[in-house]
C-alpha cells in the first residue's frame, strides 16, 4: 500500500481524498497555488507545497510542477481528483514513466475515453447501443447534412475532445446545421485545441442516466448502480440521485451489463462512469465514458454502503477489488452548491464567505472545503459544497435534503442552494418526472 499520496487538485475533492488518506493511515500531500494558500486542503493535509501562481495553467494544470512536487515530497502516488489533470493521458503516462502511481485508469484507457468519436465506435462494436450518428469525425458541412438527413433532425453537433457542454450545438434544420458545425468546431478548437466534431441524433426528452463502473488490475470489472443526472443548467449537472426513478429492476440490469461491456471494450480499470441517454420509450444509448471519480460519487456511496475513493487507492496499489455488485439500499440525492447567482444567469459570484453553517442530522452529508472567512477565488470552478440527503425512501431523502439545504448558510456569496431546495420540493420532482428543461421553470423569466 502507498504510504504517501500527493493530491493534484483543490476544493472539496482534494478534501475528500485527504480524508480517505487519513482514514487509511496514508500521509497526504496537498499542492496549492498562490491563490489557495489559506484553503482547507492546504491546511488539512499532512504536508503541503506551493506549485505556482493562481492561474491553473501555471499551477494545477502544469504537469512539470505537479510531478516535481511529487518527486521532492517523495510521493508514491498521485490522486488527480476530477477536472484539472484527471483525464489527461499525457499526465498519466508521465506518472508511469516517473514511477509514480496514478490513481485512475491507464493512459491508454483515458486516451480512448477522451476521444469521443473513437470511443463511441469501440463501444458500438462491443454490442452496446449508441445514439445514431456519424461514424467518426465529419469532414465538411455537406457530409454532415447527408448524415443528418439520413438519421433525421434535430441533430447534435459534438466536439470529439469536448466536455462540460462546450463544443456542443443543436441543429433543427439545414441552415442551422451549417452554422452549428463551424461554431462547435471553432469552440472546441479554442477550448481543447482540437476542432474535430461528430454528429448524433438529438434524442428529445431524454433523461441522463449514468452507471458507476469499477475495475481492478486483475480483470474484474463491475457496475455499481446508476445515477440520474437529468437536472442540469447549461449542460452541467445540478442535482443527482440514485436509484433513478425511471429504471425498474430489469432495465437497470440491462443497462448495467451494457455499461460493463462498454468499460471492457475500453480496457478500463479503477473508477469510471458510463453515461447513457434514456429515451421516453426506455431505449437507452451510450454517449460517453468519464475516466475519473465523478463529482456526484457520494450518492452511490450512500446507497451501496461503499467508499469509492478508498477503493480507488487500494486498486491503484494493486489490490483486488473488494466491492460487490448489489442492489441499492434506500435513496440518495445530491444538490450542488455553486457560488453562482441563479437569478443572474448563473453568473459566478466570487467573494468572501463571512459566515457559514453546515446542516447535520440523520441522513445528511456535506462534502465541502468551505469555512467562515473563506474567499472564493475567481480562478477556479465555483463548486462550494455538495449536500447529500439519504433516506430509506425517496420521500425521506427529499425531506432530509430539503431541510439540510434550508439550514445550509453561506453569508457573503450567492449560491444555488435555495434553487436546488425549490426544485426538489416541486411536485414534478416528487413525481420523478425529471428533465434538463426543469431548471428553467424555477428561474426568473428572461426579458
Amino acid at each position: 500500500m502507498f504510504r504517501r499520496i500527493l493530491i493534484a487538485n483543490r476544493g472539496e475533492i482534494a478534501v475528500r481524498v485527504i480524508r480517505a488518506c487519513r482514514e487509511m493511515g496514508i500521509t497526504s500531500i496537498a499542492v496549492y497555488s498562490k491563490a489557495d494558500q489559506d484553503c482547507l486542503h492546504t491546511s488539512l493535509a499532512d504536508e503541503s507545497i506551493c506549485i505556482g501562481p493562481p492561474t491553473s495553467t501555471d499551477s494545477y494544470l502544469h504537469i512539470p510542477s505537479i510531478v516535481a512536487a511529487a518527486e521532492i515530497c517523495d510521493a508514491q502516488a498521485i490522486h488527480p481528483g476530477y477536472g484539472f489533470l484527471s483525464e489527461n493521458p499525457k499526465f498519466a503516462s508521465i506518472c508511469r514513466e516517473c514511477h509514480i502511481g496514478f490513481i485512475g485508469p491507464t493512459p491508454e484507457a483515458i486516451s480512448l475515453s477522451g476521444n469521443k468519436s473513437e470511443c463511441r465506435a469501440k463501444v458500438k462494436s462491443a454490442g452496446v447501443p449508441v445514439v445514431p450518428g456519424s461514424e467518426g469525425l465529419i469532414r465538411d458541412p455537406d457530409e454532415a447534412l447527408k448524415i443528418a438527413k439520413a438519421i433525421g433532425f434535430p441533430v447534435l453537433v459534438k466536439a470529439s475532445a469536448g466536455g462540460g457542454g462546450r463544443g456542443m450545438r443543436i441543429a433543427h434544420n439545414d441552415v442551422a446545421l451549417k452554422n452549428a458545425v463551424s461554431m462547435a468546431s471553432n469552440e472546441a478548437a479554442a477550448a481543447f485545441g482540437d476542432g474535430g466534431v461528430y454528429l448524433e441524433k438529438f434524442v428529445e426528452n431524454a433523461r441522463h442516466v449514468e452507471f458507476q463502473i469499477f475495475g481492478d488490475n486483475h480483470g474484474r470489472l463491475i457496475a455499481l448502480g446508476e445515477r440520474e443526472c437529468s437536472i442540469q443548467r447549461r449542460h452541467q449537472k445540478l442535482i443527482e440521485e440514485t436509484p433513478s426513478p425511471a429504471l425498474n429492476h430489469s432495465l437497470r440490469n440491462k443497462m448495467a451489463k451494457a455499461a460493463v461491456r462498454a468499460a471492457k471494450a475500453i480496457g478500463y480499470t479503477n473508477a469510471g462512469t458510463a453515461e447513457f441517454l434514456l429515451a421516453p420509450d426506455n431505449q437507452f444509448y451510450f454517449i460517453e465514458f468519464n475516466a475519473r471519480i465523478q463529482v456526484e460519487h457520494p450518492v452511490t456511496e450512500e446507497v451501496m454502503g461503499v467508499d469509492l475513493v478508498k477503493e480507488q487507492i487500494r486498486v491503484a496499489a494493486g489490490d483486488p477489488l473488494r466491492l460487490r455488485e448489489g442492489d441499492p439500499h434506500g435513496c440518495a440525492i445530491e444538490a450542488r452548491v455553486y457560488a453562482e447567482d441563479p437569478d443572474n444567469n448563473f453568473a459566478p459570484n466570487p467573494g468572501t464567505v463571512t459566515r457559514c453553517h453546515f446542516p447535520g442530522g440523520p441522513g445528511v452529508r456535506v462534502d465541502s472545503h468551505l469555512f467562515s472567512g473563506y474567499t472564493v477565488p475567481r480562478y477556479y470552478d465555483s463548486l462550494l459544497a455538495k449536500v447529500i440527503g439519504y433516506g430509506e425512501t425517496r420521500d425521506e431523502a427529499i425531506g432530509r435534503l430539503a431541510g439540510a439545504l434550508d439550514e445550509f448558510t453561506t453569508e457573503g456569496v450567492k449560491t444555488t442552494a435555495n434553487l436546488c431546495a425549490r426544485i426538489i420540493q416541486s411536485d414534478r420532482f416528487r413525481r420523478g418526472d425529471l428533465g434538463p428543461d426543469m431548471v428553467d421553470l424555477f428561474l426568473p423569466k428572461m426579458k
Binding site: K34, I49, C50, I51, G52, P53, P54, T55, D58, S59, I63, P64, S65, V67, A68, A69, E71, I72, C73, I94, E97, C98
Partner: protein, 174 residues
Amino acid sequence: MDLEQFRELIRIFEESALSQVEIEESGLRIQLKKPEPPVAPAPTYAIAAPHPAGHAAPMMVQAFPQTAPPPAPAPAVPAAPSVASVAAEDEGLVTIDSPLVGVFYAAPAPGEPPFVREGDVAEEKQTVCIIEAMKVMNEVVAKFPCVIEKILVQNGEPIEFGQPLFAVRPTEPA
C-alpha cells in the same frame, strides 16, 4: 471619524509598508487593502521531456525579483521568516524568488564551485542557481545587476514556487 481623518488615514496607509489595515471604532469598520503586487509574467521557461540519458539541456529561466523599494513591502512569505527579518534589518534588500517548484542547486554539477557566493556581484542575466524539476535543469538568472547578500536556502533543498532564494542588493548599472 470624519472625512478629513479618513483622507489622512488613507494617506498614511498609502505611504506605509503595510499591505492591509483594519480599524474598528464605535460600530464603524474600515478595511484598507493594497492591490496585490502584479503577478509576475509567466516565467518563460520551457520544460522538455525527461532526457533518456538523464542529462538535460539547461533551460533559461527569468526570475523576477520582487519590485524594488521604496519601502519594500516584501510580501510576507510564511515559509521564509528569515527574509522578513533580512528585509526589516535592511530596507535596500530584495529577494530573488523561485520561479518554479523543484530542487535547488547552487552549482552546475556536484563538486564544482557554486554559481554565486554571498558577497558576490551578479551581472544582469547571470545564472545564480539551478532549479531541477522533472530531471530538467532550469537556470535561474538575475534580472538586474546586484550583490548577493544572503543565500536563503541550502544546496539540494526542495523549493516551493515563489520561495525566496537570495536576498540581494540591486546595484546601479555601470
